[in-house]
């Protein structure tokens, strides 16, 4: 049914089981019955997939029809008289017959099947199936399980061939790596892989195998929608029984999509996560990272006690909370108040993983306790001249420009500095749905047609990294596309590294009337903007430079005028630079991996050099190892909080279970106490109340950035402009040690255009060496039709850690050559 309320819908009247009902013309009978509370059993039917009519379980009796009809494919018509299994013996018998057929070849392994206890087939067999069998033959058997991928296993004998998984893969994800194979009773779900199709005993050279691995980012959804126990997740297989699990609604902590999810725990241990049902956000889907990437919270090196650097040994040792708080308070106070030499003041790096509540606590702690605006959540290259911070203040903080529904409504969407499938997978799914069902036209500025953009049928404007600003400023086609009503301009965080890019985007959106959306990569990014974790912004999008805004916040926080500085603080790069140069007294770092920063080596120097380092961490990390005081904090499942997704939608959640772990905000509250300040962030309810009571910002929105585009780097022979972004499944710390997910990561390659590759004498698969003065990496080449003079590598994948190895980012010039032994 259409969600578009304004659209007039013709209604028809029909009768189901004697109840007269009005329904929109074209609606499926099975849905209309559902709305009456009549549940017709089904297996292949799924409301978000196209009707199939394959399992035949939903047969009902329709007056005037010779045969029972499948209610999942039958649309309602005026005057239709329908009898379901509740009132028709024909329907009842038909359904019982199908149930028997489904069960003859289905194993009776419910006691050891993962689905047992939450299985639609089991439930229906128990409620309407025969008590005993008439099937005396051998049941169908297959070798089991068939590994569809490292994440998904298939037990074919359990499969009822409803084709939900193949339909999902084709219709929703666009990754058609699984399909029906063979026919008749031998029909089965298979993968296009040599060991499955030819048999593992047949030896074939690699190039003849023709393997098409199922490395879809959305494969976990096939497990969730499988109506039997045929598809199971490797990670959860044989781990728990559904009836032992306690389910809690939650929100995914990985990217800015804000997916609803369900977390199932057994006695205080998370056993699995599923996509939650939220039609406005993620519908019923999530990505594999969200589904399976939660092992980090229970990793062996999880911190449970505070650590303090021992004055005598110089090593970190376990400390009591009072001691750790005392040491941290003293160190921070000294750095804040000290004016000896160059080193003074405290910088705060909060990262993009915080909840709104925690981010607010840091923002407040920085201003109230540390008396500084040197706070920045951006754990990545932030670009030049404060352009992004100004952009965020002008165009992002406090806005809800567009929603997922607007994506479906948009006639055109222009994507710049973002690879949706890799950086915000659920936004990608919604774009794909809009492309398929609403004729959305996608334009993207990218160096090549990525797999994701191909699935969006996008018109790719081949762009050398760095040229985006010029493109946005000058491309008439884009201007025309964005001038359509409800058009969307979607920019990613990477655009910050293109001088003038965000300036041009804001200007173009302003001039065309297009809705401008900023899609960051991490779940806490957007919330951090609104909570004031920026050197130029106070909570609620209030500019620090605005005296009225400062006074407003000072009033709420009970501060005297003048405590909050009116000058913009230092951003991530500047804080790191200052610390490395010995000009910063102390650093407070919350969940930032130095490897993500523009220059990891410099960042580590900064961490080493800074006089006093306080680390808020989940697990031992490059920061905590260098810290003077380490505070353990709670992962999302052990705390309540809120994420603000890219839409600006509040996504609140409660703790999955209670542990002794404390959220950052509570630790900050205690730390503030130790420094003689009542921060008022001890519990999440208090923070929410305080945030809710913030007055609406009275001031005008600050003007946007004004940074002129710069010319694209000119490359000499043997050089190329670097294009790079993060893959969804990479070396990110929230996937640390999760080999099962890693198995479906995209191959790590260096992409080159045909001519660029020819210039190096490199063919597909040959090693390519990408280097800078800092270092080099050698990867297999993937030569394709893409913009020339550019080399693309993943930012942080095995063998391709761009920032650490090369010390550069997208748009910079690197040296390329043929790799390997010459």
């Amino acid at each position: 049914m259409s969600s578009d309320v304004a659209k007039a819908v013709d209604m028809v009247k029909l009768t189901i089981d004697g109840i007269e009902v009005e329904a929109p013309k074209g609606a499926l009978l099975i849905r209309v019955a559902e709305q009456l509370g009549i549940e017709i059993p089904r297996f292949c039917d799924h409301p978000l997939l196209a009707p199939a009519g394959a399992c035949r379980q939903c047969l009902v009796d329709v007056e005037g029809q010779r045969k029972p009809v499948a209610s999942c494919t039958q649309t309602v018509a005026d005057g239709m008289v329908v009898r379901t299994q509740l009132t028709s013996d024909v329907a009842k018998k038909a359904q019982a017959g199908i149930m028997e057929f489904l069960l003859i070849n289905h194993p009776l392994d419910c006691p050891m099947c993962d689905k047992g206890g939450e299985c639609p087939l089991q439930n229906q067999a128990m409620s309407v199936g025969r008590a005993d069998t008439r099937f005396h033959e051998h049941k169908r058997e297959y070798p089991k399980p068939l590994p569809i991928s490292t994440q998904v296993l298939l037990d074919r004998e359990r499969c009822v061939l409803c084709q939900r998984c193949t339909r999902f893969s084709e219709e929703i994800a666009g990754d058609t790596f699984i399909d029906l194979m063979e026919r008749s009773s031998n029909e089965q779900i298979g993968v296009f892989r040599h060991d499955v199709m030819t048999g593992p005993e047949v030896e074939l050279p690699e190039e003849e195998k023709g393997d098409d691995p199922f490395n879809s980012y959305f494969s976990g959804n096939t497990v969730q929608i499988c109506p039997v126990g045929a598809l199971t997740g490797t990670q959860y297989r044989f781990r728990a029984r559904p009836f032992d699990l306690v389910s809690s609604p939650g929100v995914c902590e990985h990217c800015s999509a804000g997916c609803a999810q369900r977390t199932d725990n057994r006695r205080g241990k998370v056993m699995r996560r599923l996509a939650g049902d939220d039609p406005a956000v993620n519908e019923e889907w999530n990505c594999d990272k969200g589904r399976w990437g939660f092992q980090y919270a229970t990793a062996f090196d999880r911190l449970t006690n505070p650590l303090v650097r021992d004055a005598k040994t110089g090593e970190l040792r376990t400390a009591s909370w009072p001691e750790a708080l005392r040491v941290a308070a003293a160190g921070l106070a000294a750095a804040r108040d000290g004016d000896s030499g160059d080193a003074h003041g405290v910088g705060v790096l909060t990262g993009g993983r915080l909840t709104v509540e925690d981010a607010y606590a840091y923002a407040k702690f920085a201003r109230v306790v540390l008396r500084t605006n040197d706070i920045d959540f951006r754990a990545r290259p932030v670009g030049e001249g404060g352009e992004e911070a100004e952009f965020l203040a002008a165009a992002v903080a406090g806005t809800t420009e567009a929603t997922y529904a607007d994506v479906e409504k948009a006639p055109t969407a222009v994507i710049v500095g973002l690879e949706p499938e890799e950086e915000c997978p659920i936004l990608f799914l919604r774009l794909r749905k809009a492309v398929a069902k609403r004729k959305l036209k996608v334009y993207a500025a990218a160096p090549f047609v990525t797999r994701g953009l191909a699935k969006l049928d996008a018109t790719v404007l081949a762009t050398v990294p760095g040229a985006e600003a010029g493109l946005l400023a000058g491309d008439e086609g884009l201007r025309a596309a964005l001038s359509a009503q409800n058009a969307l301009l979607i920019v990613g965080e990477r655009l910050a590294t293109v001088p003038g890019g965000l300036t041009a985007a804001a200007k173009l959106a302003d001039e065309t009337g297009a809705k401008l959306v900023w899609v960051p990569r991490r779940a806490g990014d957007r919330g951090a903007v609104d909570a004031g974790c920026l050197p130029n912004l106070l909570p609620g999008g209030r500019p620090v430079s605005d005296p009225a805004a400062r006074a407003e916040i000072a009033g709420v926080w009970g501060l005297e005028t003048g405590v909050i500085s009116g000058s913009t603080g230092r951003d991530t790069d500047q804080i790191i630079e200052a610390a490395a140069a010995g000009r910063l007294g102390a650093l407070v770092v919350a969940g930032v991996d130095p490897a993500d920063l523009a220059d990891p080596t410099l960042a580590e120097q900064a961490l080493d050099k800074v006089g006093f380092l306080v680390s808020f961490e989940l697990r031992n990390s490059a920061v905590s190892r260098r810290a003077d005081v380490v505070f353990p904090v709670a992962p999302v499942q052990e705390k309540a909080g809120t994420f603000l997704n890219w839409e600006g939608r509040l996504r609140s959640f409660d703790a999955v279970f209670d542990t002794t772990a404390m959220p950052d905000a509570r630790v900050l509250d205690a730390l503030a106490q130790a420094m003689g300040v009542d921060l008022g962030t001890a519990d999440v309810t208090a923070i929410r109340a305080e945030l809710g009571a913030l007055p609406v910002s009275g001031g005008d929105r600050p003007a946007g950035p004004r940074l002129a585009p710069r010319d694209v780097e000119v490359t000499a022979p043997g050089e190329a402009v670097l294009a790079t972004w993060h893959q969804l499944i990479d070396l990110g710390s929230l996937l640390d040690g999760d080999e099962i997910i890693r198995g479906t990561a995209r191959p790590v390659v260096a992409r080159l255009g045909v001519q660029t590759a020819a210039g190096l004498g490199v063919a597909d698969g040959d090693p390519v060496r990408v280097s800078t003065e800092r270092g080099s990496m050698t990867l297999p080449a993937e030569v394709s039709d893409m913009v020339e003079g550019v080399v693309w590598v993943p930012t942080n994948s095995p063998g391709a850690t761009v920032r650490r190895s090369l010390g550069v980012t997208g748009g910079d010039v690197v040296t390329i050559s043929r790799g390997g032994i010459q």
Partner: protein, 434 residues
């Protein structure tokens, strides 16, 4: 000569015995491509009206009125139209389309040209059964001949009408005779029936308006164009007009194709075929392939037209009469058919995939002497749960031999179960039998 030979109405088969009837020269000497010339002068709508008037019904088994099917194609819709000829003849016992394409391929091509002109299609496909290699070769050769003569291609005979004809060989799947599965297969997908609506008339090949017709249907068209609707209706019955190719096989002296007006009886057909083989007495037969319920010697005088066969409790189908005698076992024959349906079920829907698998296994058990009384009820109930519950007609057809053989020959089943008939399958054969 016996009077019964007057019942023969050789129209589609009239050239089959001519020397090298498949060559275009022979064809043209025998009125070939005259109908095309006539048709290209006419208005397409008049051709559709003519076919409607003739009462021509589809020769593929369902007997849908052909003119009506053509008229369903929306005109002036800006989309390409397609004619797809279903030459995936695979129904057990049916052997009329392949000999036609072997012996007189040009009549099919001429029919295609006229049909395409009528429905305003400039591209036609013949989906021919993969196993029919020889027939496909003949047909491809004939297509080349027709192109060379300018009967296919651009601006046919200066009429401004263009037509390209593609011969596509299937990959050996009975399901691809189902028109929507055929279209999927032709598009390069897995051959499985599509959800209807939308119907092929509006969303057929490549989601464009498409007519799918049987070989015999299309090959009839040139004769109707030349002879007129009244002449056509002079053969057959009122509602089942025209001649029909009956393919006779089994315990008769001269198996083969006999073209008669619709409404001929099996008694007459057997006489045409030289009678039953010596020592054989008719016991049961299929009127139109294995998907049509069996009839018995009682039904020797049922007129073989759509209506009369339906009244006798069966279906005219593809007029493939397989004739079995008192030396044939109806249980074993049904078992072989069940193995066929089990093998050929596409697997898309539950009842057909599982039901045929199950029934074939039950037959194996009965024939190996391990059957029980319960099995007979199980078979009938499985048929009840399959008939009318499957996604397409394949599942329905599979139940026909089971229910009809149990109806007429239950005693034969009981003889196996009660040990009066020796098992014909050994336990060894049961393993992996096909």
């Amino acid at each position: 000569m016996s009077d019964v030979f007057r019942k023969l109405t050789p129209v589609l088969t009239k050239r089959w015995l001519s020397p090298e009837a498949w060559r275009i020269d022979t064809y043209e000497q025998l009125d070939g491509y005259l109908a095309m010339r006539k048709a290209l002068q006419a208005h397409p709508d008049d051709l559709i009206a003519l076919i409607k008037d003739s009462g021509l019904r589809g020769r593929g088994g369902a007997g849908f009125p052909t003119g009506m099917k053509w008229a369903f194609i929306p005109q002036n819709d800006g989309k390409p139209h397609y004619l797809v000829v279903n030459a995936d003849e695979g129904e057990p016992g049916t052997c009329k389309d392949l000999p036609l394409m072997m012996n007189d391929p040009h009549s099919l091509i001429e029919g295609i040209i006229i049909a395409c002109y009528a429905i305003r299609s400039d591209r036609a496909y013949v989906y021919i059964r993969g196993e029919a290699v020889h027939a496909a070769r003949r047909l491809r050769h004939a297509v080349d001949e027709a192109y060379a003569k300018g009967y296919l291609g651009e601006n046919i005979l200066g009429s401004g009408f263009n037509l390209d004809l593609v011969i596509h060989s299937g990959a050996g799947a009975y399901i691809c005779g189902e028109e929507t599965a055929l279209l999927d297969s032709l598009e390069g997908f897995r051959g499985q029936p599509r959800l209807r609506p939308p119907f092929p008339a509006t969303h057929g090949l490549y989601a464009c308006p498409t007519v799918v017709n049987n070989v015999g249907t299309i090959a009839s068209v040139p004769y109707i164009v030349l002879g007129g609707a009244d002449w056509w209706k002079s053969m057959g019955t009122e509602k089942s007009s025209g001649p029909m190719i009956y393919s006779l096989s089994g315990r008769i002296n001269n198996p083969g194709q006999y073209e008669c007006g619709m409404g001929i009886t099996l008694r007459e057909l057997i006489e045409l075929a030289g009678g039953m083989q010596p020592g054989h007495n008719l016991r049961f037969w299929t009127p139109g392939g294995s998907s049509t319920p069996l009839l018995t010697a009682e039904h020797l005088d049922v007129p073989l037209d759509f209506e009369s066969v339906a009244a006798a409790g069966s279906i005219l189908g593809t007029t493939a009469t397989q004739i079995f005698s008192d030396q044939d076992c109806p249980v074993y024959a049904t078992y072989r058919w069940m193995e066929f349906y089990h093998h050929e079920s596409c697997g898309k829907c539950t009842p057909c995939r599982e039901g045929n698998f199950w029934m074939a296994r039950v037959y194996r058990r009965i024939l190996s002497g391990e059957g029980t009384y319960e099995d007979l009820d199980t078979l009938l109930d499985a048929c009840d749960n399959l008939l009318g519950r499957a996604f397409c007609g394949l599942g329905d057809g599979a139940t026909s031999p089971v229910t009809s053989s149990l109806k007429y020959f239950k005693q034969d089943y009981l003889d196996y179960i009660e040990g009066r008939t020796a098992p014909v399958l050994s336990a060894k054969q049961l393993v992996g039998a096909h």
